[in-house]
């Protein structure tokens, strides 16, 4: 027996070592990765001590640059340098044109209607570009934490729709990250704030970032963060302030707005610097194309007034939806770099009738909250009393019905997870197929809502109009992602769709990108696969051991227990070898044989059984 145990690189020296998990704030302008170290959640710095990675990606002939150096190249190499890619996530080309700004890229339509960008390295989708940023953050985290990550919590604007969420999850997969959860940014901020200040009661989070705006109202009760209402605008942020200033400069200078991409970037840079300077000074001297002048704070505030008004409108709606008085809100927390603008703070203060809190670092708070959630989800220090996040869907989900109208199935601000069914019928005699058109949005007309997916239910037995009964079930998981199933009740014919939005990637595309990214990282795929299987096997062994210790006596008879223990020892043997397939098979065997035990444990943990519909009969 060895006196000293020496762990091999990448292997856990002991089974109860802390599992490495991180929180990632994938922002429009900047991104961060944070983790819990010695009980404190903090952003992880690079070798130079910088925690912020500018969300800029530059494609060069033989490599990719991410961060500061890419951001600096934006004027000289505008076609190959992508900034604010988050604004393109989950969108179609037509949406991008509607963003109302000129983006200096060479757009091409991709396979899946995404607005892809032509670069020196070929055509890149917004998902791939985001994955480059995520990969840099993953590598930073692995280097500073010294091991492979169990997974990551990635934040998204609360107001992101299904397509935008799916795109973010796909980007993480391509970057080689296991997504533990997609977490809404304001909820992440509330966690960081709530735990730091021991806050209880009603809290509003006003989150104005570079490209997106969210307002969330939460109730904090002893570690439970319950979102009562959320609202926002996924195309409103500091970038719009920059564009307002840029347009003003062009008008003053009498220059046409039809600029070459490099010149446009230069102008936006001047606009952004001016905006930032105006947070601390009253007036900024400007020079552009021979024109000299200055922009005072009062004029700037006029330029952005309508943008701020849009955010305030969303706040009022959220207050109404939460069904509370604005006066009952105990704290208003400002998040996102754009809340540094004094007029924003003032307007929010007036609306809520209280001074908003600006003493929490608006750039870091989201990543910190995500790191805390990631640590909890990874199973570190689980004692049953820690935090629980109860979030909502930001936009109503529904179906197209007769006359091009949207019928809501799940209204906005419904707590997730949620499953809800509604029955429809045929409108023609002998109708044998039905089109199911899934929509997201608040408006009555289908054309004003976002189309998420379409699928057809075939083989309905011919009946007179109105006799068939088609039950459509919507299910939204804890990431806020939707699944839809349709079934004709008499015949049992059904169709199910994991909503893959019109602007999403196909599974084939993801597989290809994943492969490319692994090649690029120079990872030995077989080795990596074996490693992943080992991690999975250890995780399972640990979980089963814990379960046996807690409830084995109570819930298993001797025979069942012996069977489980046999599988445990077989899996342990496989772990000592290098046969990945054997390991996978035995992991599955142990998992299968403990399923019933797991179900019993869960039943026991909820004392009263929950009544209601089962999803089983809908999904299978």
């Amino acid at each position: 027996m060895a006196l000293l145990q020496i762990a091999e690189p990448g292997q856990s020296p002991q089974p109860h070592e802390r599992r490495l998990a991180v929180g990632i704030d994938l922002g429009t302008t900047n991104s961060l990765v944070a983790a819990l170290r010695s009980g404190v959640a903090e952003p992880l710095p690079d070798a130079d001590g910088n925690v912020i990675v500018p969300s800029a990606v530059r494609y060069l002939a033989d490599h990719v640059e991410v961060g500061r150096s890419a951001k600096d190249a934006v004027q000289d190499d505008p076609f190959n340098t992508v900034v604010s890619v988050k604004r393109l996530m989950g969108r179609g080309l037509a949406d991008v044109k509607q963003l109302g700004e000129q983006l200096p890229y060479r757009f091409v339509a991709g396979e899946s209607q995404m607005p892809c960008i032509e670069t020196v390295q070929g055509v890149k989708s917004p998902v791939e570009i985001s994955a480059e940023i995520l990969r840099v953050l993953r590598l930073r985290a692995e280097a500073s934490l010294g091991g492979e990550l169990v997974g990551a919590v990635i934040t998204v604007p609360a107001y992101f729709d299904d397509a935008q969420r799916q795109a973010t999850k796909d980007a993480a997969r391509i970057a080689g990250l296991n997504v533990l959860r997609l977490l809404n940014e304001p909820t992440a901020a509330a966690v960081a704030y709530g735990l730091d200040r021991q806050a209880e009661g009603l809290v509003a989070i006003y989150d104005l970032g570079g490209g997106t705006f969210d307002i969330s109202i939460l109730r904090l009760t002893r570690g439970v963060f319950e979102v009562l209402a959320t609202g926002g605008d996924s195309a409103l942020g500091g970038d719009d302030f920059d564009h307002a200033i840029a347009d003003w400069i062009l008008a003053q200078a009498g220059v046409s707005s039809d600029l070459a991409p490099g010149a446009q970037r230069t102008l936006l840079k001047i606009a952004c610097d001016t905006k930032e300077a105006l947070s601390t000074t009253e007036s900024v001297a400007l020079e552009y194309g021979g024109w000299r002048g200055s922009l005072g704070r009062a004029v700037f505030e006029e330029l952005i007034e309508s943008l701020i008004a849009r955010s305030l409108k969303a706040c009022r709606r959220a207050i109404r939806d939460a069904d509370i008085d604005a006066q009952a809100i105990g704290a208003v927390v400002m998040v996102g770099g754009s809340t540094r603008v004094p007029r924003v703070r003032q307007a929010v203060g007036e609306l809520f009738g209280r001074q908003p809190l600006t003493d929490i670092d608006p750039d870091k708070v989201v990543a910190i909250g995500a790191a805390i959630q990631a640590d909890t989800l990874a199973g570190n220090g689980r004692d049953g009393s820690e935090l629980l996040l109860l979030d909502v869907i930001p936009l109503s989900l529904g179906l197209e019905t007769m006359g091009g109208l949207m019928e809501k199935i799940i209204p906005r601000n419904t707590t997730i997870p949620v499953a809800r069914a509604q029955d429809f019928t045929t409108y023609k005699d002998g109708q044998t197929a039905m089109m199911v058109h899934v929509l997201q949005g608040e408006r009555e007309l289908v054309t004003d809502c976002r189309s998420l997916a379409r699928f057809e239910l075939h083989g309905i037995p011919p009946m007179v109009a109105g006799a068939a009964k088609i039950r459509v079930t919507f299910q939204v998981d804890a990431d806020g992602l939707l699944n839809v199933a349709a079934r004709e009740l008499a015949s049992g014919i059904e169709a199910t769709i994991q909503v893959k939005p019109s602007y999403g990637l196909t599974d084939g595309e993801i597989a290809r990108m994943l492969e490319e990214s692994l090649d690029k990282a120079g990872a030995d795929k077989a080795m990596r696969a074996l490693r992943e299987r080992q991690v999975e096997a250890r995780r399972l062994l640990e979980a089963v051991a814990g379960a046996l210790q807690a409830d084995g006596e109570r819930l298993l008879d001797a025979e069942e227990r012996a069977a489980i223990e046999l599988q445990i020892s077989e899996l342990q043997q496989a772990l000592d070898g290098q046969d990945g397939d054997l390991l996978a098979r035995r992991t599955k065997s142990l998992s299968d044989i403990t399923d019933a035990f797991a179900a019993r444990r869960m039943d026991a943990s909820v004392q009263a059984a929950l009544a209601g519909r089962r999803l089983d009969d809908i999904e299978e």
Binding site: A378, L390, D477, A599, A611
Partner: protein
């Protein structure tokens, strides 16, 4: 189908007037044990169970939280289902309904804020009266028809309140 009622689930007596604080506290406690966040590295089946149970828990909570849904559910527990869509004669209420409709249409044209506030107050008062009346009769077998009528009226008031909210939203544009 299990015979456990939503009330059992939250450890509450099956009543119309309930302790909402206790309902919320028990909801949070149950949510802790079933939420998918607790099963991130469990097997796929366990994750699905957690999703399913969590969705059911949320649905039960939503039902008991809303007085109208709670009233409807109580009648269903007594074997008296109130279908969502059915045209039922309620002449006594019809006049009131028409009056409200007319008032709302006027408000939609004028957009007058004071008027909206007083209309909301009216609806709130009507709502309270319906709640009080329901509490008086729902347990009485001989008054089930009356209880059902009251639930329908509640549904109408809810719908109207929803329309007022939409009006407020529109005026905020």
């Amino acid at each position: 189908m299990s015979n456990t009622s939503y009330f059992d689930l939250f450890d509450l007596p099956p009543a119309f007037v309930i302790d909402l604080e206790k309902l919320a506290a028990n909801y949070r406690e149950r949510a802790r044990s079933v939420h998918p966040d607790r099963f991130v590295d469990a097997s796929e089946r366990e994750q699905r169970q957690a999703l399913e149970r969590s969705a059911n828990l949320n649905e039960s909570y939503r039902t008991l939280k809303s007085p109208t849904q709670r009233a409807r559910y109580l009648l269903a527990l007594r074997g008296h289902d109130v279908p969502l869509e059915a045209t039922v004669q309620d002449p006594e209420f019809l006049l009131q309904q028409m009056q409200w409709r007319e008032d709302l249409e006027d408000l939609q044209e004028s957009g007058e804020h004071a008027g909206i506030a007083s209309f909301k107050a009216q609806l709130k008062k009507a709502r309270q009266e319906l709640d009080d009346a329901f509490e008086q009769c729902w347990q009485d077998d001989s008054r089930l028809a009356e209880a059902e009528r009251l639930v329908r009226r509640m549904q109408f008031v809810d719908k109207l309140s929803q329309e007022v909210r939409q009006l407020e939203e529109r005026l905020d544009d």
